[in-house]
Amino acid sequence: MSSAQIEIQLIASVVAIACAIPGTFLVLRKMAMISDAISHSILPGIVIGFFITQDLNSPLLIFLAALTGIITVVLVEYIQKTGLVKEDTAIGLVFPTLFSIGVILIAKNANDVHLDVDAVLLGELAFAPFDRLLIAGADVGPKALWVIGSILIISVILLIAFFKELKVSTFDKGLAASLGFSPAIIHYGLMGVSSITTVGAFDAVGAILVVALMIAPAATAYLLTTNLKHMLIYAICFGVFSAISGYWLAHSLDASIAGSITTMLGLLFLAVYLFAPTKGVIAVMYREKQQRTEVSLLTFLLHLRNHTEERERHVNHLNEHINWQKVRSKTVLDLALKNNMIKFDKNIVSLTEKGNNFTSQAIDYIITNEDSKIEHMKEDFFLFRG
């Protein structure tokens, strides 16, 4: 690996970490769309800042762009508060307006300078190592790394200092307000950090793809954990993993780095969405099937208990009586046998003592409306699950 390659991966990873931190809270606050709006509407801020400073990495430019980000949030909330339109409509009204102002400003005034819409929207990570930061004539590394690195350090400090406040105001705004942690301050603080991070990251991945780095790792982590701290850590790991693997994907395909990173984020989310152990699609389907079989089993056992007459309990009649398809009846019958709940006596099915115990306990819970306890009961009785 050349030093430029290492630097690119380093920048991408730092951007990913810096995005994952505010991203986690945006996802939990159901504000993913706001990050999309911010990423677009900072364009006029960047353009105006660029006119003043003539430097894409100037702190003033970052500050101005972040300010436009906050203005976006304020405008969205203001329009929404009138009650005339809903939040998503308000977002859809505000950011294209601000964005188009930026586009016009670039077209009118910045044609002859190094600032074009593509550069802002898509970024070009491959060029980042060329723009060096010189301190007293000495090369101390790529400028982008210093910019996003400083932003990352600030957000980590803020995160550690205000973790408890962020958590309580995200979970329960009313409680936060009554305890004296103004939800508005925390809200705008988070919006400010998100805006600054977006601006800092646009050099690397562009203002649009930064949305992917904020939302996708957090959304992926959300499927895997029930602990806020773990969610943050997972989101950071997913971001870094996608950044580095995305870089090598781009390298082997000779494609855009930002595009490849985002593709990796998408693939990662898809994999977790399908295979996550408890919330994943496949796990949910498996659990539902298990539930269905176990409910059928209980129905079947209840039937056996209710009918003492042999006619009702004859194997050949069970199919018609309970009105199940052959396959299902067989699954249920097998499960009951495996768990020693029933026994056969010349094709007549009857409950074993254990089956009888299980069924009467289950009925008790059903009639006292404590269905949830049946789940725990299964632990005590089942040798095999459905």
Binding site: L28, K30, G83, A161, F162, F163, K164, E165, K167, V168, T170, F171, D172, G174, L175, A177, S178, L179, G180, F181, Y222, T225, T226, N227, L228, H230, M231, N369, S372
Partner: protein, 253 residues
């Protein structure tokens, strides 16, 4: 519970509301409310849907900004008396899929006394565990909150308020969507709080249980209709004034 020394019903006013008017988009939801809640009562706020019951609590707690009027807690503005007040919001007001555990939610009750930046430590954890024990939820302390039943979630909220060790408790429909056992468990805790000299204010929907559960009641329907001891003012006259002529229908619901 170190505030037991405050004498019960010594005639002090715990909460005083003066000329409070709250409006959403200039449409008044509460109109010129004057209310005095004496210390040590277990009070129900009753009224039909849209009467402004939750709004009243939220504006006392500074969550909503009134357009007129003032609120005082023991003769001081709310901001100065935060530590004396605990709040149990409606269960539906939070996202129960939030990645956190029962213990963690109860710990949030201790954040107010910590203030900004300071982190909860062993002392706060102990208080939270004790509160969980009190509401019978200790075995569930590590459970993710979405995996709790409605009644258990309500108990967690109650534990979170208990851990604040406040003098005044505001609760927004704590009996909503809980089973009979949990309802009894909750009301027993509320009665215990009153015995300890605390003031408990509950937004309540079930008119039938008012005389059994509460000793003080406020009738509210945009304006305040009446407030006082249940045995004196919980009568047909006030119910009709609050719910209209058809209040008996709403009882039977």
């Amino acid at each position: 519970m170190d505030k037991k020394k405050i004498p019960v019903s010594a005639g002090r006013i715990a909460v005083k509301v003066d000329d409070l008017t709250v409006a959403y988009n200039y449409k008044p939801v509460l109109w010129d409310i004057d209310l005095e809640i004496p210390e040590g009562v277990l009070m129900a706020i009753v009224g039909p849907n849209g009467a402004g019951k939750s709004t009243l609590i939220k504006s006392i707690l500074g969550i909503l900004k009134p357009i007129a009027g003032s609120v005082s807690i023991y003769n001081q503005p709310y901001e100065k008396q935060r530590s004396l007040v605990a709040y149990v919001p409606q269960k539906g007001s939070v996202d129960w899929d939030f990645p956190t555990t029962a213990l963690d939610v109860v710990m949030m009750g201790t954040y107010g006394s910590l203030g900004w930046i300071k982190r909860p430590g062993q002392k706060e954890k102990k208080a939270a565990l004790e509160a969980l024990e009190k509401v019978g939820m200790l075995p569930f302390k590590g459970r993710q909150i979405s995996q709790l039943s409605g009644g258990q979630q309500q108990r967690i909220f109650l534990a979170r308020a208990l851990v604040q060790n406040a003098s005044i408790y505001f609760m927004d429909e704590p009996f909503q969507g809980v089973d009979a056992t949990t309802e009894i468990a909750i009301i027993n805790i509320l009665k215990e709080l009153r015995k300890a000299g605390k003031t408990v204010i509950v937004v309540h929907h079930d008119l039938q249980t008012v005389p059994e559960y509460f000793d003080w009641v406020t009738f509210l329907n945009v304006k305040k209709i009446a407030t006082g001891p249940v045995k004196d003012i919980f009568n047909d006259d006030n119910l009709t004034k609050t719910y209209g002529i058809n209040y008996k229908v709403s009882i039977q619901e």
